[in-house]
Symmetry: C2
Subunit: 499 residues, 2 copies
């Protein structure tokens, strides 16, 4: 069986190497590739993806996994080998259920839809995006049909991004959360509002960059195993545990883009840099899920980066870089970066309103999959929910239903992971603060090593070994729970707005 295990590891290493090469091709495409290189790059990535798919779905590989199944059952279920086999079987079953022709058709449909989405958003023209979206939803239904029936058809979609997460569970979590968040922002709206105009003024771009570098170096981002570049849309890109890169965007007249974007991506990247090196070139050298990944980025961006202790340390440094902030007190700055303002665009939303944008999307996706909402009625449904949850109504579809790119890529089931990430981050934060009682004081001194070490030991090192709920339970003693996040929001905003 050792020989078979060796064969498995060789195949997983081949797949990891192709994946790592694809990561670099993608990074290059978003950062340095010459403009005319796009077509060839698409072909190169397509070919590598096809080769990986062929290797990962080959009957020989399936036979090997069958033979390894009883061996896995004989091992400690938490051992690397057992988990490697478990996830290899999971990935193989998922990949072989979807016919190759379907994958090709989906790639073609989404490429067109993606282009249409960008074009119609520019014109705020939902009508011309509608047929693309209808086609994608038809494909999504067919995709669900390749899998055995679940409790809810949406479970199959969710499982792609948040393994083993059930629609009913997410709904239960969101149902508990929604009224509390709606109530909170109503309470905030009744108070005198925060001034954040000082964040919107010219800030030297190089100085912004340098400040971001200073912050994430202090966080513990490992520059020997990463780098930062600029790109229109910030992202994290891991080609191996020892090469996890980030990008950022520097706006010339708004501090937040670089500031919180850089911290956010660093949270993702330190997760990637923290996987146990024993997992390198296996199927476990990944995050547990998108939600758990987002918990890491949100923790560094919000629970650390938008906290008062953090700015008690860093604000004098920021003021030194930007004399235009000399007249802005720490208290005013802290309130400014935490201003709550119900708004139309998800990616610009503050902590108090963000999850409501997600809930709206989840409810719409479920209604579509259940056949209770037709694509033609989408804008109306969207706008009604925006008014209900956030008290605002999009003036047009560009600022409404057309704002996100996810659906045009066929990514149904993805959005909830953003909100789950927020919830997990607060749940972990509660636990971390129990175990490191002087963490706020450490942060006030610009020290993050104990925090990073805790995350490394409890989360990062495991890679993908545990299912998201399993991991959260293992660490905190309970499954994903919205209470800590709600508690965090209420406490923070009570202080800021005097609720």
């Amino acid at each position: 069986m050792q020989e078979k295990m060796k064969q498995l590891k060789e195949t997983l290493a081949t797949l990891a190497d192709i994946g790592g090469a694809l990561a670099i091709l993608g990074w290059d495409q978003q950062t340095y590739m010459p403009s005319m290189g796009a077509e060839s790059r698409g072909q190169q990535s397509g070919t590598l993806g096809r080769l990986a798919h062929e290797i990962g779905t080959s009957p020989d590989f399936g036979k090997l996994l069958d033979e390894l199944k009883p061996y896995a059952a004989s091992l400690d279920p938490d051992s690397d080998d057992a988990r490697m086999i478990k996830f290899a079987i999971r990935d193989y079953e998922q990949a072989t259920r979807v016919p190759a022709e379907f994958v090709v058709e989906q790639a073609e449909v989404t490429a067109l839809a993606n282009q249409a989405c960008a074009e119609q958003r520019a014109k705020s023209d939902f009508a011309h995006f509608r047929p693309h979206l209808e086609k994608i939803i038809e494909l999504t239904h067919r995709f669900i049909g390749f899998f055995p029936p679940a409790d809810h058809p949406y479970d199959t979609l969710l499982d792609n991004f948040e393994p083993e997460m059930k629609t009913a569970d997410v709904k239960a979590i969101f149902t508990a959360l929604r009224p509390q968040q709606v109530e909170l922002i109503k309470a905030i709206a009744g108070k005198s509002q925060v001034d954040d105009s000082f964040l919107h003024q010219p800030f030297d771009e190089q100085k912004q960059w340098d400040f971001g570098v200073e912050v994430i170096t202090a966080f513990g981002y490992d520059w020997q195993r990463g780098r930062q570049d600029k790109s229109p849309h910030p992202f994290t890109n891991g080609s191996s545990i020892n090469d996890v890169r980030i990008t950022t965007r520097v706006a010339p007249d708004f501090l937040n883009s670089m500031l919180f974007g850089t911290m956010h991506e660093t949270g993702h990247a330190m997760y990637g840099q923290g996987h146990g090196i024993n997992l390198e070139r296996t199927n476990l050298a990944n995050g547990a899920s998108l939600g758990v990944h987002e918990s890491q980025s949100r923790m560094w961006e919000n629970l650390v980066g938008r906290s008062l202790p953090f700015w008690q340390h860093f604000y004098p440094r920021l003021q030194k870089q930007f004399p235009q902030l000399k007249g802005v007190s720490l208290d005013k700055f802290y309130k400014g970066i935490n201003k709550v303002q119900p708004s139309l665009i998800r990616v610009e939303a503050d902590e108090a309103t963000y999850n409501l944008h997600i809930m709206l999307r989840l409810e719409i996706e479920i209604a579509i999959i259940e056949g209770k909402l037709a694509v033609k009625d989408l804008p109306e449904a969207w706008n009604a929910k925006m008014q209900e949850y956030l008290g605002v109504t999009p003036p047009d579809d560009a600022k409404g239903v057309l704002q996100d790119i996810h659906w045009s890529w066929g990514l149904f089931g993805y959005f909830s992971t953003y909100a789950l990430g927020n919830l997990i981050s607060a749940q972990l934060w509660e636990k971390i603060n129990q175990e490191i009682p002087d963490l706020p004081e450490q942060i006030r001194q610009g020290k993050f090593d104990a925090l990073l070490a805790w995350l490394r030991t409890n989360i990062h090192v495991h890679g993908r070994k545990f299912m998201p709920q399993e991991l959260v339970q293992k660490i905190t003693g309970s499954k994903i729970d919205p209470a800590p996040y709600m508690h965090y929001l209420k406490k923070k905003y009570s202080e800021i707005y005097g609720l």
Copy 2:
């Protein structure tokens, strides 16, 4: 047969895509990769190389090529399809002759030898590099043994880099050339020497960079299909016809590194950018040989970039960037950049002495392959020939036999392509000047479009469709001929040194 041709093109496209991906992995490794990423990158590149080898040597592919052979014979032999089949067969036969275990062994031996070469060069210690080189030469003999006997065993090596070139031909060319080059540099040595001290002074690095960009933009380098970055060793890297990148090195106190390095790489890159787009994703989207490639880089670097007309246009611009050159006349500058000085290091050699460095290496390689020279006697043989041809003797092996990295990579048969490139460049230059009689005047006006168009039409567009000798003959009416190069050198240096 159309179906079989389609299958061939699909396989060639797959191989080209993997090659293009490997190119980007290599580019990234030399430019932006974080320091700790090297091990994973080696694994990723190794895996992609292995997959390409498996695809390119599969029995099914061999069978397809057998079936296509008669079809190729029925086509116009110069057609894309006929040439595609011809080169596919050539590559398949070469790749399948060498056993996979040998390739693995060679990779291991050369990786160690390469490291040893760098380490022992630092210590100028040939004795400790010797066992590595002996092992590599043993491998080289075994490599030759995989192929059918040729006129000369060295032919098999040469054929890897300069297809169908014979040892006897290269020897004949070099034998005609050597005494004339030796005589020329002796004549130059008897004249009063040129001052180039003004090239060795501080030059602002950003201004150097900008000047290089101005020059190669004027040459016609297509920035939409390429880019320039910095790297310790300048190189050209093509991942597709629409993505051919260069790198350069900027020395803070010596102008030539950036100046001529940038022009050199641009010559390579414009060749790559100039392949017919009909050849994209085939085995023909490459240069005809290393020698023909070098003819392009050397032409732009030397025949254009070290010419008087070029500097009649660009020198005022250079002086504007660098006021420290204000007191240096055009005549003095032109002579300075063309200073002849027999020296120890190949990569620093001037046009008059460069080929002698190559002849020395070729003679030593042939003697080794013929078994007439033992590795232990290499330093002595090297130094004797340096004295004979160039009148200088290395003070140590670091500045002698250990200076190049090629042998440690097992690249026997490679060096001649550098000298052949020089010869081809002058041979083409003679023809070009017949067909564009006012070319010097155009260059004096900073116009290069007619020159580039000529190269595109006559050379670039064909990619790898013709064998090097075939291509040179097709264009100039004769095979590779040292006379034009010798004529060019004598004329140029007679004027500069008043011979």
